[in-house]
Symmetry: D2
Subunit: 321 residues, 4 copies
């Protein structure tokens, strides 16, 4: 379903080219100061405009319609809306193919062709604007917990300027790797079964479009290690460890060390290069050319979304204690 | 919490050295034939005894106390118990340290030292017996869906006999990589937000002890790829694709191709090699020697657990359609 | 929390004098035709203007911002907003007392005085507009199930014109009794524990402001009856019964006969008569006079809300089958 | 589903004539002292043996298999089992009718005749033994909150000895009315929508077999009252009110005054008197004679079950604060 969280719960709605997209945040404690300006920094980080991202101009002005009164959260549900301006919905009616790598085919099957296909509809990255807004609120609930998410590789390169330029020039797109660190984590958040911190974070992160993998601590490298290498030795009674192969989590519970995880982002499926797909009207494989405005590297816009979703999860764990 | 699933829901309970461990399965349709023998094959795959696993003998005879009548599921909750025999609970009362890599420290913090620490208590791999039992039932709900999970690497090696032998000889442990393939998947299972197939599978898989990473399709490799390489081209109107970089999932929904994911398993933290840890009675770092019976490569016993948990998730998606 | 339902789930938000109130409906199947005109009839039944209701003019024009495309539900979340016009928020800042019978005191305790107190805020009957809108959608999911809800008593009278007129003249308010009948109910909806049809309906109905009791079938009269009187005798193999003391429910499950329940609605707490309350600034009991526009008999406006909430519950049960 | 609660969550399982019935309690805090003797008093109150209840001897010895260690809760799931002894399952195979007032018909429809019909199966009052056990644990979480539940009427009589004797003599059964009072309630428990205290209590109470109505405070009498009579006047700043027509709840939230509710219990459907029902093998209405051991007034055994379920709900609200 389109909700996430047990106590601090978000519900997402909207379509890329519909009237408005938005988010409802339930379970937020009362008395947290919230101004519309508080959203600017994170929303700007999600916006297009960087090199490698689409040129589409999005004006993301949050419209808070409930749950905030006199500048403070009331404790009742907060709904934040964003207008969909600058959409360009030409004629989507004569679509004869499903774009490779997109949700066009699966969404049409699930929704019996009643789904709004314009711009990806409900599956659009556009909806992550609501996630970022929820993250701004969530971060205020856990002011001491510090969440930092950043690109560490594009196309497998730690220095990615060149590969990014080449990709754009060749009308292609490219994937990237994001690392997220959570600092000042309270000890013993999480549950043994089935709400381990890894479970709940992974659940949330995989709802971000384009995510294809997640690993905690030494992650996939763990599968190659010996126990004597992987075990993190405790060095004091607060639980601090010498190394952090566990990524801050033992038995599904936070151990007080930094939580570290990495997220694999696939390349944007929309590319300007000619590609093949199945044309179901002609009943054969044909060439496909996608026009419009697209991100060559969607990974560049996702760190703040990962931060937001992580903040939502941590706020929920925090409120459950 | 200790439950998983929306319609087909499992609840797990028990401690490694308690009276019994078990599982309750709610939401199972009526009329499914279940005999105690049906559990043997999968329970045996989880059992120790292979080279690289503990010599501890576990007799896992499922005791079905409810929900099955005259050999068929009734539609009401099924509770299956397993006795904890052959436990060796010597004196755990003078523990002065937390074992590195285990949940000892985090569990003691969460449960204020009231947790049953014998054999890892509720965090023990022992509890996965219940998961395997639930998987046996789940597989019967989705007889056409085929789930195959197997080790593909140990210690980073595709041919692992040698590294496994060396590891055992050196009193160490080692991690492994498991691949799971789901065949004959109905199209359009899953939800866009926040219950994507990746989200729900990852949630479930990360509740298995020792899992540190999961990736779908080309996974972390996607982060290095170009869109023109990664996009899976549709080759007919059933949604079949030429490649399967997506791992059978687009926009969080199944596309009818095989679901493929890989899971990183860390090395067992219990090793016979001397290691260091913090002794909180002496208030300093001391040497630690762990005795007993342990798995050198716990990954060897996990494929059937992954299959079981995957079956539980797929049965739940199936019943939600 | 502010959500209801397992598969067909509604989330409510807004405050009486905030920008907008609304509802998000998740889990609605795709392909259901919905036009804005479809909401008129039920919204009008909830509106004030009848004799015994407030003279406040509410223009309730549903603004559907997501989940409907080309006149049909898409299968993704539907969010419907209503503007709060015609509010009269004078100065609420110098309130020195809690109105008897209202949520002022409890809400201020729960929300640490951060709640929006204007017009009752989130506790206002105004929010039931969203429920009615959700009910309109829900009814379309279960077109064969017929839900009829109507006033059967006001002030204990079956003929209530006189008592209503007297009440209004004396600046007082008065309670009422509503009966709801559900026809053409599929057999075997509901769960034994803990989601009996009575449980889930009662849960939903008690979230409507002013409800203080619910009874099914012969209800409280059952407590006075003999088994030989109360037992409903089956008269054919479809489960039809001669009497309907069970109100259409046995063992928590629908038996195919009409579901019948009655709901007690307390008198509106806002009365124009002078009453006493505690003034916490003066720290003593003082007189209180309430002005403004209020319903003398709120029960008159609630039948359609009960129908709507009932439809939401039945649609959820229906989609769970 | 067969679970109740958000943080403190119980899951019920078992059939009347199966091996064992039981309950799993998740979310119980660690460190609460629990001995098997603690269950005796409440289990005895539920037992048959009083005048008007069945002569069937039930030995209810709780078998705690998990979640308690060294006499204290560990914080992990507590599973408590009860053996089904003294069952008398003669031949249930040639049943040709559905007993009036029972779940036989609805259960057979829901479970496609795979349900265990012996003694009512999963629908049996036998399962309330598990509820009482959960209540014993729940009461320990909220030691200051006092819950008192008692019969106030049988067959509509405050002095019921005579009507009870007459009923037994005539081989009939009779209903009753139970009142429950909750004292020392913390202020501001509950949620406005949809988890009002009334909603959540009613949900839980209606899962007890034989319950047909619930009312809070003045309840159905409210529907006959004027606002000037019904409004409870605050008499000090702690929220204490002069009267308690609201039953301790305003706007769905506790106001600190006693919560008071009444529950209507229908007469036991099993009566020794000859009655009619539909025989679906003969395809006509025939006479039915029920033998065995039955309660003439099941209401006599329910007060402790209501207390237990109420304690479960209050513990859950308490842990959510």
């Amino acid at each position: 379903m389109n909700s996430l969280g047990r106590i601090f719960r978000i519900t997402i709605f909207g379509e890329s080219h519909g009237k408005q997209i938005g988010i409802t945040i339930d379970g937020c404690p009362p008395g947290i100061g919230v101004a519309e300006d508080d959203f600017i920094a994170d929303l700007n980080r999600r916006k297009p405009g960087q090199f490698g991202t689409t040129a589409r101009t999005e004006e993301d002005i949050p419209n808070i319609v409930s749950g905030i009164y006199n500048g403070f959260t009331t404790g009742t549900p907060i709904t934040i809306l964003f207008e969909n301006k600058n959409t360009n919905s030409k004629d989507y009616s004569n679509i004869e193919h499903y774009r490779p790598g997109h949700a066009d085919f699966t969404a049409s099957c699930k929704y019996l062709n009643y789904n709004d296909i314009r711009g990806g509809g409900h599956f659009s990255g556009r909806l992550t604007t609501g996630l970022v807004a929820a993250g701004v609120i969530a971060k205020k609930i856990i002011p001491k917990i510090n969440i930092i998410s950043k690109i560490i590789e594009i196309g497998g390169q730690k220095q990615w300027e060149e590969i990014l330029a080449t990709t754009i020039k060749s009308s292609d797109s490219i994937g990237g790797l994001i690392e997220c660190t959570i600092q000042n984590v309270p000890i013993a958040m999480g549950e043994p079964f089935f709400d381990s911190v890894e479970s709940v974070l992974a659940h949330a992160i995989f709802s971000i479009p384009a995510v294809k993998g997640i690993e905690f601590g030494s992650g996939f490298e763990s599968a190659k290690m010996k126990g004597s290498e992987h075990n993190d030795i405790y060095i004091d009674k607060t639980g601090k460890t010498l190394t952090n192969n566990a990524g801050g989590i033992n038995g599904g519970l936070t151990n007080g060390n930094d939580i570290i995880f990495r997220v694999a982002i696939k390349p944007t499926p929309s590319i300007f290069k000619t590609q093949q797909t199945y044309n179901f009207k002609l009943d054969k494989i044909t060439n496909l050319e996608i026009h419009g405005r697209h991100d060559s590297c969607i990974a560049l816009r996702i760190p703040v979304v990962i931060e937001a979703v992580t903040a939502v999860v941590m706020a929920d764990f925090f409120l459950q204690r």
